[in-house]
C-alpha cells in the first residue's frame, strides 16, 4: 500500500511526455548541451600570417578539422578584434537592432569555434529568436518537405510531391528504403513537383557517391546529405574527412547543383566520440568547417540527434543556438525541426515555435509532408497530420512559415495530374507500366497502405526495374523533360527544363537560394535580410498575407446564413400580437427574434423545431398548456425568458435562443436570475430539452423539480463554436425589432 504512488502521480506517468527519454548530464559521454568543463577556452595565435594555435591547441596537434578551419576558415584581418571582444559585449551585438547583420558577419568571420560557441551560449531563448530574425541570410522565409513512401511507389511519390509543392514547400527531399530505387524516386518526385509548381528544388538523399552521381546527371537539383561531424574520429567513422567533403562540395558546384552540409547535436554522442565536449562546441566546429570548406549552407539543429540534445537540460535551446551560429557565419540555415524529438505535442511545438516566429531560410529541414509511417527518414517533427496546425499557427501569429493553404480541389487536381504524368513518363521511357486503378489509388491515397489491392501491395520489382533502367541507360532530366513534353505535359516539361537551365546560370548556388514561383532566385544576393528592428525586415506582401490568413476552414456570417437557410421551412406562422395569459396551467415558451426566420438549427445540430417539440412534449406530460411567443425586442436569453414568464398565465416561462441555450424564468425574478439554465448549447440533447419542459411544468404547478445538471464536456467547446455563436448572434441581431412587440407563433410540425 505505502509503495503505491497516488493516483495523481500514476495519472501523470501515463502522459505522452513520459515516453520521452530524459538524461542526467554526463560530461564523459558528451551528454551536455552547452559549456562542458572540457570545452577549450577560445584562443588564436597567429605568426607570420599563419595560425599556430587555435582554441588552446598548438598547430602540431591540429586534427583534420582544426587544420582545415585554421587554414581556410578564419578571417585573420579581423581575428584580433573579434577574439579580444568581451563575450557579453559580443553577444549583445547579436540582439542589438542598431548593429547590422553585416557587422556580425564581419566579426564572426574572425572567431574560432570555441569563441562563437561561448558567445551564443550567452543568448537567452528570446534573444536567440531576435538574433535569428536579424541574422538569417534570406529575407523571405521558406520550408522544406520530405516526400517518401515505404514502397518507393512512383505514382504516390509524384502525387505527394505535387501536394507538397501545392502547399508551398520550395524544396522537396526524398530518400529510399531500398538504395537501388533512388533514381526512380528522383524522377518521380521531379515530375510531381513540376506538375504543381515551377522552381521546386528536388533532392534524393542517399549514400554520398550515388547522390553525387544523380546530381551530375541532373536527376536532382540540390543535395543535402553531406554529413559533417565535430570530431575527427567520428568523421572518419563516417568514411570521410573534411578534405573529401570539401572536394565533394566543389564537385556539386562543378555541375551547377546546389548543396548544403548536414550536422547537428548528438551525432558524436550517439557514435561514442564526443571527447567530453559539449554539443554546442562540437557543432560550432562543424559550422566553422562548413564555412571553411566553402559550402553555402548548413542543415543543423540536431537533425537525427535532436532527441539526444532534447534529453538534457537546455538541449532545445542548444538546438536553436546551432542555427544562429550558421546564420552568424553568413551561411544558409536549414533549421532542423526535422526528426521527431518528442512524443509530446506540447514539447515538439515548444521546440519549433521560436524558429517559426523568428523566420528561417528553411524553418524545417524536413517537414514530413506525408504519413509518419511513409517517412523513410523516420517520422518528422511535423507530419501530414500537422499541415493544418502549421497553417493555423502561421495565421495566429501572422508569420510566414513557408506554407499556404492548398484548396481541396487543387490538391485533387494536382495529385491526379502528377500521378498520370508519372505513369505516362514511365511508360514513354519504357521504365514501367502502371494500371488506371493504380493511378486512382495513388491519387486518393492518404499513404502507401492505401495502395494495396485485397491486401496485396504493388510489386517491388517494378520500381527496382525502373531504377535500374534509369541508371544503366544514363537517363537524366533532359530525357524526363522530353518525355513530359511528348506525353502532353508542356508546362511541366518547361519547368523541368527551366531547372536545368538554372544550372547554367548558377545563381542558385549562392547562399540560401530558392526559386520563387516565377523562377526568380531569392538568396542572400538577391533577397538579403535587412532586419533592423520594428518596421524593417521581411513583411509578407499583401498577397502573401492573404494566403497566410486565408485558411480553408475560416467562415463568416454569410457562410452561416447559407447553412441556416438550408434548414428553413414554413413551419413557423405568426398568429398576431401576444396577449397576457390567464390560465394558471399556462407556460409560455419565448423564442428569440431570429428563430424560425433566419435561424433554424441550434449549435448541437438539432433543429429549433425539434428543440421546441421536446419542450412542448415535456410541458404536455405535466398537463400544462403551452404557448409559443416570439420576443422581437431582445435577443438576450434572460429577457426572452422573463418576457415569456410575464406573458404566461402561470408566471413561469421558458426562454429559447436560436443557438439552443435555454432557461426557465419566473415573472417576479430579475432578468439575470432564473430557475434553471442550459448554457452549453452545443451539448444539449433532446432528452435535456424534454426535461427542461417537464421541470417548467412542475414549477408552474408549484412542485419541486429535480434540477437538470448541465452536461459536461472536456472538449474545447468554446473554440469550436464561438465563431458560429458570433455569426448566429449577428443573424438574430438583424431580426431584433422592438416595434413588432411579442407575437404568438404557431409551430406546425
Amino acid at each position: 500500500m505505502t509503495d503505491q504512488r497516488v493516483g495523481r502521480i500514476r495519472f501523470m506517468d501515463q502522459q505522452r511526455v513520459n515516453l520521452d527519454g530524459f538524461a542526467h548530464e554526463d560530461v564523459d559521454l558528451g551528454l551536455i548541451a552547452m559549456a562542458s568543463p572540457h570545452d577549450p577556452d577560445p584562443s588564436l595565435r597567429v605568426e607570420d600570417g599563419r595560425v599556430v594555435e587555435m582554441d588552446g591547441r598548438p598547430v602540431d596537434d591540429f586534427d583534420a578539422l582544426d587544420a582545415l578551419i585554421a587554414t581556410h576558415g578564419i578571417d585573420l584581418s579581423v581575428a584580433d578584434e573579434a577574439m579580444s571582444l568581451d563575450d557579453v559585449a559580443f553577444a549583445r551585438l547579436f540582439v542589438d537592432p542598431a548593429v547590422p547583420r553585416a557587422e556580425i558577419v564581419r566579426l564572426v568571420a574572425g572567431t574560432t569555434p570555441a569563441k562563437l560557441a561561448k558567445v551564443v551560449t550567452l543568448l537567452r531563448p528570446a534573444e536567440l529568436t531576435l538574433a535569428m530574425t536579424k541574422l538569417r541570410a534570406r529575407r523571405t522565409p521558406s520550408n522544406q518537405a520530405h516526400v517518401t513512401n515505404r514502397l518507393d511507389d512512383p505514382l504516390l511519390l509524384a502525387a505527394d510531391a505535387a501536394t507538397a509543392a501545392a502547399y508551398g514547400f520550395r524544396e522537396v527531399e526524398t530518400t529510399v528504403p531500398v538504395l537501388a530505387d533512388a533514381p526512380s524516386n528522383a524522377v518521380a518526385v521531379t515530375v510531381g513537383a513540376a506538375i504543381a509548381s515551377p522552381g521546386v528544388l528536388v533532392q534524393c538523399s542517399v549514400e554520398e557517391a550515388m547522390e553525387l552521381e544523380m546530381g551530375i546527371r541532373g536527376l536532382v537539383s540540390y543535395a543535402e546529405t553531406v554529413s559533417l561531424y565535430g570530431t575527427e574520429s567520428v568523421f572518419v567513422d563516417g568514411d570521410d574527412t573534411p578534405y573529401s567533403k570539401a572536394i565533394l562540395a566543389a564537385g556539386y558546384a562543378s555541375r551547377g547543383v546546389k548543396m548544403r552540409v548536414s550536422s547537428g547535436a548528438g551525432a558524436e554522442v550517439l557514435m561514442g566520440g564526443a571527447e567530453q565536449c559539449s554539443m554546442l562546441y562540437l557543432e560550432s566546429r562543424c559550422v566553422s568547417l562548413a564555412r571553411a570548406m566553402g559550402v553555402q549552407g548548413v542543415q543543423n539543429g540536431g537533425i537525427d540527434g535532436a532527441s539526444v540534445a532534447a534529453s538534457v537540460p537546455r538541449g532545445v535551446r542548444e538546438l536553436m543556438a546551432e542555427n544562429v551560429m550558421v546564420m552568424a557565419r553568413n551561411l544558409e540555415a536549414c533549421t532542423g525541426n526535422d526528426a521527431l524529438m518528442s512524443e509530446s505535442d506540447v514539447r515538439r511545438t515548444s521546440r519549433t515555435l521560436p524558429i517559426l516566429l523568428a523566420g528561417s531560410d528553411y524553418v524545417c529541414s524536413g517537414f514530413g509532408s506525408i504519413q509518419r509511417y511513409d517517412n523513410m527518414f523516420g517520422p518528422s517533427q511535423w507530419n501530414a497530420e500537422d499541415l493544418d496546425d502549421w497553417l493555423a499557427m502561421q495565421r495566429d501569429w501572422g508569420v510566414d512559415g513557408g506554407l499556404r493553404t492548398a484548396q481541396p480541389e487543387e490538391v485533387g487536381r494536382v495529385r491526379r495530374e502528377a500521378a498520370e504524368a508519372c505513369r505516362d513518363v514511365y511508360r514513354y521511357l519504357g521504365l514501367a507500366d502502371f494500371t488506371d486503378d493504380h493511378v486512382d489509388r495513388a491519387v486518393d491515397a492518404v499513404g502507401s497502405k492505401d495502395l494495396a489491392v485485397d491486401g496485396v501491395e504493388p510489386d517491388p520489382m517494378v520500381v527496382l526495374g525502373a531504377a535500374q533502367a534509369i541508371r544503366s541507360s544514363g537517363l537524366g532530366s533532359l530525357e524526363v523533360a522530353k518525355a513530359l513534353l511528348e506525353c502532353g505535359y508542356e508546362a511541366a516539361a518547361g519547368r523541368v527544363l527551366d531547372m536545368l537551365a538554372a544550372r547554367v546560370h548558377g545563381d542558385h548556388l549562392q547562399t540560401a537560394a530558392i526559386f520563387d514561383e516565377s523562377m526568380r532566385v531569392l538568396s542572400l544576393v538577391t533577397d538579403p535580410n535587412d532586419y533592423a528592428g520594428p518596421g524593417t525586415g521581411y513583411e509578407p506582401s499583401e498577397e502573401r498575407q492573404a494566403e497566410i490568413d486565408g485558411i480553408r476552414q475560416a467562415r463568416g456570417v454569410e457562410d452561416l446564413r447559407k447553412d441556416q437557410a438550408l434548414e428553413a421551412d414554413g413551419s413557423f406562422r405568426v398568429l398576431g400580437p401576444a396577449a397576457q395569459g390567464s390560465d394558471p396551467r399556462e407556460v409560455v415558451i419565448g423564442v428569440s427574434p431570429g428563430v424560425g426566420r433566419n435561424v433554424w438549427q441550434t449549435l448541437s445540430g438539432l433543429s429549433v423545431i425539434d428543440a421546441l417539440g421536446e419542450l412542448l412534449a415535456g410541458l404536455e406530460e405535466e398537463g400544462c398548456v403551452a404557448r409559443v411567443v416570439r420576443v422581437n425586442g431582445s435577443l438576450d436569453l434572460g429577457m426572452v425568458g422573463l418576457t415569456a414568464a410575464r406573458l404566461s398565465g402561470s408566471g413561469i416561462g421558458i426562454g429559447l435562443q436560436g443557438k439552443g441555450t435555454a432557461l426557465i424564468h419566473r415573472r417576479d425574478l430579475p432578468p439575470l436570475a432564473n430557475l434553471e439554465l442550459y448554457s452549453m448549447a452545443p451539448v444539449i440533447t433532446r432528452d435535456l430539452y424534454r426535461l427542461l419542459g417537464t421541470n417548467a411544468g412542475r414549477h408552474a404547478k408549484g412542485a419541486t423539480p429535480v434540477p437538470a445538471r448541465n452536461p459536461y464536456t472536456d472538449e474545447a467547446i468554446e473554440a469550436r463554436y464561438h465563431t458560429s455563436v458570433i455569426a448566429l448572434v449577428a443573424l438574430e441581431r438583424a431580426c431584433v425589432d422592438r416595434s413588432l412587440g411579442n407575437e404568438d407563433v404557431e409551430v406546425v410540425r
Binding site: V105, I247, L478, Q510, T511, V525
Partner: protein
C-alpha cells in the same frame, strides 16, 4: 548575375534552352551544364557578399567542371580516409595540375600533409 549572355559548358547561349529545341532533340547534357567561366562569375559574386570561402569553392568547382563525371568521383574517393598513399595523393596532385586544376591540386597536397600526420593515409 551579369546582363550579358550566359553560355553553357557546350558554348550554347542559355537563352536557347527552349521547349522548341527540346522537342527537336537539339539539346544535349552539355547544354545544361555550367561553364567554368560562369562559376568564376559566381565566385566574384560570393566574394562581394562576404564569403571568400564560397568563392574559393566555386573556383575549385570551375576546375572540376573541366573534368569528367568519373574523374570527379574518383578524386572524391581518393580523398576519403585510408584510400590513398602519400605517393598516390602526390601523383593525383600532379595529374590535377595538368587539367589544369591547380587549386584542387593544392587542396590534395594540403590533405596529404594532414593525413600523414593524422594517420589517414592507406
Amino acid at each position: 548575375m551579369s546582363s550579358e549572355s550566359v553560355r553553357a559548358f557546350s558554348g550554347r547561349d542559355a537563352d536557347e534552352l527552349t521547349i522548341d529545341r527540346l522537342s527537336r532533340d537539339e539539346l544535349v547534357m552539355d547544354d545544361v551544364r555550367i561553364s567554368p567561366d560562369q562559376l568564376e562569375q559566381q565566385a566574384q559574386v560570393a566574394e562581394q557578399h562576404a564569403n571568400p570561402q564560397l568563392a574559393a569553392n566555386f573556383r575549385r568547382a570551375a576546375e572540376l567542371a573541366l573534368m569528367s563525371e568519373a574523374d570527379v568521383m574518383a578524386l572524391y574517393e581518393s580523398l576519403r580516409p585510408h584510400r590513398a598513399t602519400a605517393e598516390e595523393l602526390e601523383a593525383l596532385a600532379v595529374t590535377l595540375e595538368g587539367v589544369p586544376a591547380p587549386l584542387c591540386a593544392a587542396l590534395v597536397r594540403e590533405a596529404a600533409a594532414v593525413y600523414a600526420r593524422r594517420g589517414l593515409l592507406r
